[in-house]
């Protein structure tokens, strides 16, 4: 890129930029491989010099050596404020199960847990609890159907986070299909979301009386417990 020789000083700038911009810790070997005429030892030396500069000029951060290489850390005494900043954010990755249940609840709300289970093919009890705790979903009422199961929907905060004002503005299954492209199931049979969901509904209806009544016996205590645990989850955690 540069035909001229790079000065030691300029190389140090590059080292700094590389460490700051990378999204993972970067090793001295990697740094050396990216800068003309630089050895890993020199890269390491540059980092030491940078840290000395940071210390002299009282920067609020330093370059830390972690397992994989170098990384920016904030000074220890900055922790209270940094912590405060991260606090209250919806942090932590949702598990795949969490994501799936959240997606189903978002686009099919209001929906009972049993229906979420039916779509996912597995029990979603624990996941639903996590979503409630994180204030992503809330209890949105009770089905008028047999057994009157609790229904879940997304919280206002989550909707706002997704960029829409109300449930009506969320894309409907048909629109999702239009945006994402026609669905094909694993065995190559063309199928669309509407049909898939309609099929589910049919199945559900077929045995609604028996199924729901029976389910009620098991699910009710748990759901009641949830209702007690998170009575204000819809308006409580507005931050």
């Amino acid at each position: 890129m540069d035909s001229q020789e790079l000065t030691e000083e300029y190389k140090r700038h590059i080292v700094e930029a590389l460490i700051i911009a990378n999204d993972v810790p970067i090793s001295e070997a990697k740094i050396a491989s990216l800068i003309e005429d630089m050895t890993p030892a020199q890269a390491k030396k540059a980092v030491d010099e940078l840290n000395a500069e940071y210390s002299d000029s009282q920067r609020a951060f330093f370059i830390a050596r972690v397992a994989g290489g170098f990384q920016i850390n904030t000074r220890r005494d900055m922790a209270p404020w940094v912590k405060k900043m991260f606090k209250g954010r919806m942090r932590g990755r949702l598990s795949q199960a969490g994501l799936e249940s959240l997606a189903i609840i978002t686009f099919q709300q209001p929906i009972s847990r049993v229906e979420v289970d039916a779509i996912r093919g597995v029990n979603s009890g624990g996941v639903v609890k996590t979503l409630l705790e994180r204030n992503l979903i809330t209890i949105a009422g009770r089905s008028s159907g047999p057994g009157k199961p609790l229904l879940y929907g997304t919280t206002k905060e989550f909707l706002r986070y997704l960029g829409v004002d109300d449930i009506k503005s969320l894309p409907k299954p048909k629109e999702i299909e239009e945006i994402m492209g026609k669905l094909t199931t694993g065995d190559g049979v063309g199928e669309n979301i509407i049909e898939a969901l309609a099929g589910l509904e049919d199945d559900g209806v077929d045995n609604s009386s028996e199924a729901t009544a029976a389910v009620d016996g098991v699910a009710a205590p748990e759901e009641k417990a949830q209702a007690q645990t998170h009575p204000e989850s819809d308006n409580g955690q507005t931050e």
Binding site: D23, Q71, K83, R93, L94, E100, G121, T185, I193, L197
Partner: protein, 239 residues
């Protein structure tokens, strides 16, 4: 052959039309009338050959051009010449200008995009909190509307396909499934409730009926379900 190169650069009939207009303006100040339409048709021929997906949109524009031309050839009623709302060209001119407006903005955005690619934001930071370790630094902001829709589509895709002829019911009864469950438990002393459902079931309707069957078995104390703590895995065991 040069067609192919050009074609890749056209973003639709309006783009092509603008291109031809520009091209002809440069070459011949006094545009021979038929030229644009004729050249458009030539391109259209190639487009139809190469790009069947978008061809219809180009054909539509060709039809518009011909319609405009035809309308212009008709003798004009010598009424109010100032009233140009009747001019058959207006709508097309309007559309071209409107398109041109945004094409200029797009060029502007491209310049900004080019410039922005010289800057990299800091990413190499990890907050290390002495007290809590559960933070893995992954922001939930990754769950946007698009990701949710993608997950939703995936889940629905996994739902077993609806039988082609819905009139036909899947012959499954609670009695059948009771037997299936008991047989399964015969071979396995204690199984995960989830595994039992998943291994024995490939249709939603069967899943639901199996579920009811298990509940029936529970009621009649033929099987026992237990759980270490709320929301943990459920084990099922034959009594």
């Amino acid at each position: 052959m040069s067609y192919r190169i050009h074609l890749q650069n056209f973003d639709g009939p309006l783009d092509l039309l603008l291109f031809l207009i520009r091209k002809n303006e440069v070459d011949v100040y006094d545009i021979p009338v038929a030229t644009i339409t004729q050249q458009y048709m030539e391109y259209l021929g190639v487009i139809e050959m190469l790009d069947l997906d978008n061809a219809s949109e180009y054909i539509l524009m060709a039809a518009t051009l011909i319609r405009v031309k035809a309308a212009l050839l008709l003798p004009k009623p010598e009424l109010d010449d100032d009233d140009d709302a009747d001019d058959p060209r207006h709508e097309l001119v309007q559309r071209l200008l409107e398109y041109q407006r945004f094409k200029e903005v797009a060029d502007g955005l491209e310049e900004i995009e080019t410039e922005s690619r010289h800057f990299f934001r800091s990413l190499n930071y990890k907050f290390e909190d002495d007290e809590s370790e559960e933070e893995d630094g992954v922001e939930q902001s990754e769950v946007g509307m698009y990701e949710l829709m993608a997950v939703f589509v995936d889940v629905i895709k996994r739902v077993p396909p609806v039988t082609e002829h819905m009139v036909e019911r899947i012959p499954v009864t609670i009695e059948d499934q009771t037997k299936v469950v008991l047989e399964f438990l015969e071979n396995n002393k204690q199984v995960l409730f989830r595994d039992l459902l998943l291994t024995q079931v490939n249709e939603k309707i069967i899943l639901i009926v199996t579920f009811i069957a298990i509940l029936e078995l529970m009621k009649s104390r033929k099987v026992t379900l237990n759980q270490n703590k709320p929301f943990a895995e459920i084990w099922i065991r034959k009594n």
